[in-house]
């Protein structure tokens, strides 16, 4: 098919064709960026946590009284829960992965790098049952001994002799060496390296999702004095029932301390990723609506041209053009408009991305979103123009002989 006549016909309808092309351009710019955001956030949401997610839940405990009293309450609670049917294991902690609240500190392997921001780590207090309860994988070294587990008062500085770190943190601190046995500091300030790395776990993520160092965590053999979280692992498939039983048993044992914030790990995870999930839904909705609106514009425009050119189509048919040639005419016309739109849209996509990156610190748009987006709008254009083109092809040659 020769594009010459199509081009010259288009040039006589510059504004109408331009409006459609501009729509295509904007559509491409928006969906390329929207899909990028969708993929980015979906990847983030699907990051593994390292935790046995389906079986773990956590209960907030707030004892009242002197440190001695509150320690006794917490240990009695722990004992009670560990003995309940359906409970695989349990431990007391300050914070849970993906719970949204927790502690962080600067970790250093040498005295010069204590303040570099990428050496931050989340701090999780565990006892000898912590790793088993969460379902973490110990990949090197050993677990904590019961004798290492001590009480920690909030106003004291955290200074254990031994720590277990994640593989990600180990790699950050000791890029070329085995971390087990090495000395580090978790005090966040200048000082000696007082903590020995006794083990490395495969993965356990931080309480926060927006953190650059999502997998840098440190386990310390401590129990938190005062308010604490009791983390429990239930037998597979029994979490809902065990959770209820644990809450009831705790209240039944004593009403002298509060049992609150009973949450499954799944609930914590969903809450942490809620805004990311919301953004994915919003972006997908916008993309779908946008594609529908643009397709609609193309259909409307093409239908009008078909009506306007009914006589010319009749003449062409009378002069021997096949139906296929008529369909192809409109398809080629649409392809020309779409390609112009795509050319502009590629530039526009980068402008939108630049504005987003500037204003919001968003990532740069990877190049391959553009051909993908271009393919989508091109297919959309061809699909949208098909029905009007078919209608054009059904114009009988006899129209050429009618009137004027």
């Amino acid at each position: 098919m020769r594009t010459g006549p199509i081009l010259s016909s288009l040039l006589r309808h510059k504004v109408a064709a331009g409006l459609v092309a501009a729509q295509i351009a904007l559509t491409l710019a928006i969906i390329a960026n929207a899909l990028f955001v969708v993929v980015d956030r979906t990847t983030m949401i699907n990051r593994p946590s390292g935790v046995a997610e389906a079986d773990v839940f956590s209960v907030g405990l707030a004892p009242i009284g002197t440190p001695e009293q509150s320690r006794a309450i917490l240990l009695a609670d722990l004992d009670l829960v560990r003995g309940l049917p359906g409970v695989v294991n349990a431990y007391l902690t300050n914070s849970m992965p993906l719970s949204g609240g927790g502690w962080s500190t600067g970790v250093a392997a040498g005295l010069d790098d204590q303040r570099s921001p990428d050496r931050s780590s989340a701090i999780y207090m565990v006892d000898e049952n912590g790793i088993d309860t969460l379902g973490l994988k110990l990949v090197a070294g050993r677990n904590f001994e019961p004798s290492e587990v001590l009480w920690h008062m909030r106003s004291e500085s955290l200074d254990p002799d031994s720590v277990i770190i994640t593989a990600a943190l180990a790699k950050r601190l000791f890029p070329d060496a085995d971390a087990v046995g090495k000395m580090i500091s978790i005090s966040g300030a200048e000082g000696e390296l007082k903590q020995r790395v006794v083990g490395v776990v495969d993965r356990v993520v931080t309480p926060w999702v927006g953190w650059g160092q999502h997998e840098q965590s440190t386990l310390v053999p401590r129990r938190l004095d005062g308010g604490a979280q009791l983390t429990v692992r239930a037998e597979p498939g029994r979490r809902a029932e065990v959770l209820k039983a644990v809450e009831e048993a705790l209240w039944k044992r004593s009403t002298a301390r509060v049992v609150e914030g009973v949450r499954t790990f799944t609930e914590m995870r969903d809450e942490q990723y809620r805004s990311a999930t919301a953004l994915v839904v919003v972006m997908l909705t916008i993309t779908l609506c946008l594609l529908a609106v643009t397709a609609l514009g193309i259909v409307g425009q093409a239908s009008f041209w078909v009506t306007q050119r009914t006589r010319q189509i009749g003449v062409r048919r009378a002069l021997g053009a096949t139906r296929g040639q008529i369909v192809r005419y409109f398809q080629t016309e649409n392809a020309l408009i779409t390609c112009t739109g795509i050319a502009v849209g590629v530039v526009l996509a980068y402008v939108v991305n630049y504005a987003m990156a500037n204003q919001l610190g968003a990532e740069r748009l990877p190049w391959f979103y553009l051909p993908i987006g271009a393919l989508v709008v091109f297919a959309l254009g061809q699909l949208a123009v098909f029905a009007p083109a078919r209608r054009a092809a059904s114009v009988p040659p006899a129209v050429a002989t009618r009137s004027a």
């Binding site: 928006i30 707030a62 106003s155 500085s157 209240w251 805004s275 609106v293 919001l360």
Partner: protein
């Protein structure tokens, strides 16, 4: 005349019902997307305390690490979002503003006397007494406590409406006692319903959360060595024990001052500059003196980025989408009007002026816009409901008010009229004779 145009417009729309309906729907979807995003943006950014915001200033004190600022925004360094104990009590004691309040959030166990109520954790704001008059906090019963009470470490407490309902069934409980973490406190006041759109006085610890359940004197919280239940940030280890924690540069409190006019603000800032010099002389860091200042409330909320970046992204793309809908409406209106070239030619031939035709077609665009606004309103309500479901934090934010409702109609009509200008101009320029001939 305008009524006549509207009647013709309705006739015109009914002539191509499917095309017209699709146009209305397209404008509706575009307007709804933009309006959903805009409503949340505007309401998040709205003044949370309009009657007093020009008098309220946050205390920004930059006591942070000399080598590395606390944060940065648009390339410039930022002061910490909270202040240290040292600075909070010093600025409170100086009393250089008309009113000042320093505060932080703690968590205490409420132990109800009633047998049928289990103990529960209560979020409590420990604050100096100016908090209530400064922020226009409404009381249902009683009132706050005095500065003398605060100095005397009086065991006194103000309850929120919800807390009073939970413990006393909403009765006037002033003068009664409640037990919090094994200590009795006398109730000095009960708040009326108070739910500022944003907890502007503590944006660090859940800006969209409910206000605390109770309020207690700062001095009592210090005496009981209560740690903050919210964010605590230190750039160096605070050392052992409560005393060294208080002496540290850790930031965990919020500070606010009320300054009636620009002169008072200038005087206060001069006082702060002097304070910075004193602290520096005493050996503290204070290496970015320009960051220690009284920041106007609106500017403070902006600096703290209370509008999430995700919402800005949604708004940018929402308006880009509206632009597509505008182009789309332009395309369809052009096709629609020019399809009626015959009719236009006839009207021109029998004497309709270009201006009259232009006005008529623009009216038709506006009618499409009005119908689009209606569709847009319904879709916006749906969009906001969806957003509330996706992010419960927005429960109080993602709601349409009269102002946004009117903006919705205005945007829809403006969009479709803007889209209709060129098509109407083209239609009004159809030559009378030619069109009559071809038909």
């Amino acid at each position: 005349m305008i009524l006549y145009y509207i009647r013709i417009a309705m006739l015109g729309l009914r002539k191509q019902p499917v095309l017209s309906a699709l146009m209305v729907l397209a404008i509706g979807v575009g307007v709804a997307t933009a309006m959903t995003a805009l409503t949340v943006m505007v309401r998040l950014g709205a003044d949370p305390i309009p009657q007093r915001s020009d008098r309220l200033f946050a205390m920004a004190v930059d006591n942070w690490d000399a080598e590395r600022p606390w944060g940065d925004r648009n390339g410039g360094p930022l002061a910490p979002d909270q202040i240290s104990y040292k600075d909070a009590v010093a600025l409170l004691a100086a009393g250089k503003a008309e009113r000042q309040a320093v505060m932080y959030r703690v968590s205490l166990t409420a132990q109800p006397e009633r047998e049928d109520l289990r103990p529960f954790q209560a979020s409590v704001r420990a604050t100096s007494p100016d908090f209530f008059p400064m922020f226009d906090v409404p009381f249902a019963f009683g009132g706050g406590w005095s500065a003398a009470d605060d100095t005397a470490r009086a065991r006194t407490v103000v309850l929120s409406k919800a807390m009073n309902e939970r413990l006393f069934g909403g009765e006037n409980s002033v003068g009664q006692r409640i037990r919090l973490s094994d200590e009795y406190y006398t109730i000095s006041g009960v708040l009326a319903e108070w739910r500022p759109r944003m907890k502007f006085y503590d944006v660090t610890n859940g800006a969209l959360n409910e206000p605390e359940m109770a309020y207690m004197p700062l001095s009592v919280a210090f005496e009981k060595e209560l740690l903050s239940d919210g964010n605590n940030n230190c750039y160096e280890s605070p050392g052992e024990g409560w005393a060294s924690y208080l002496a540290s540069e850790c930031v965990w409190m919020q500070g606010w001052v009320e300054l009636p006019d620009a002169d008072a603000a200038a005087t206060y800032n001069a006082f702060l500059a002097n304070y910075v010099a004193e602290q520096k002389a005493a050996g503290r860091a204070f290496s970015r003196p320009q960051l220690t200042r009284a920041v106007p409330l609106r500017e403070w909320l902006d600096l703290r980025g209370v509008v999430p970046d995700d919402m800005r992204l949604f708004t940018i793309l929402g308006f880009a989408f509206l632009l597509v809908c505008l182009l789309n409406a332009g395309t369809l209106l052009l096709a629609k009007f020019l399809r009626r070239s015959g009719e236009i030619g006839l009207r021109r031939a029998v004497g309709a002026s270009k201006r009259a035709l232009f006005a008529q077609y623009l009216t038709e665009s506006a009618v499409v816009g009005l119908l689009g606004a209606l569709a847009g309103l319904l879709l916006t309500l749906g969009g906001l409901a969806g957003l509330r479901m996706l992010t419960p934090d927005f429960a109080g934010i993602a709601r349409l008010d009269v102002q946004m409702l009117l903006s919705c109609v205005a945007i829809a009509v403006a969009t479709s009229m803007l889209a209709g200008i060129y098509p109407a101009w083209r239609a009004s320029n159809v030559a009378p004779a030619v069109q009559l001939k071809t038909n």
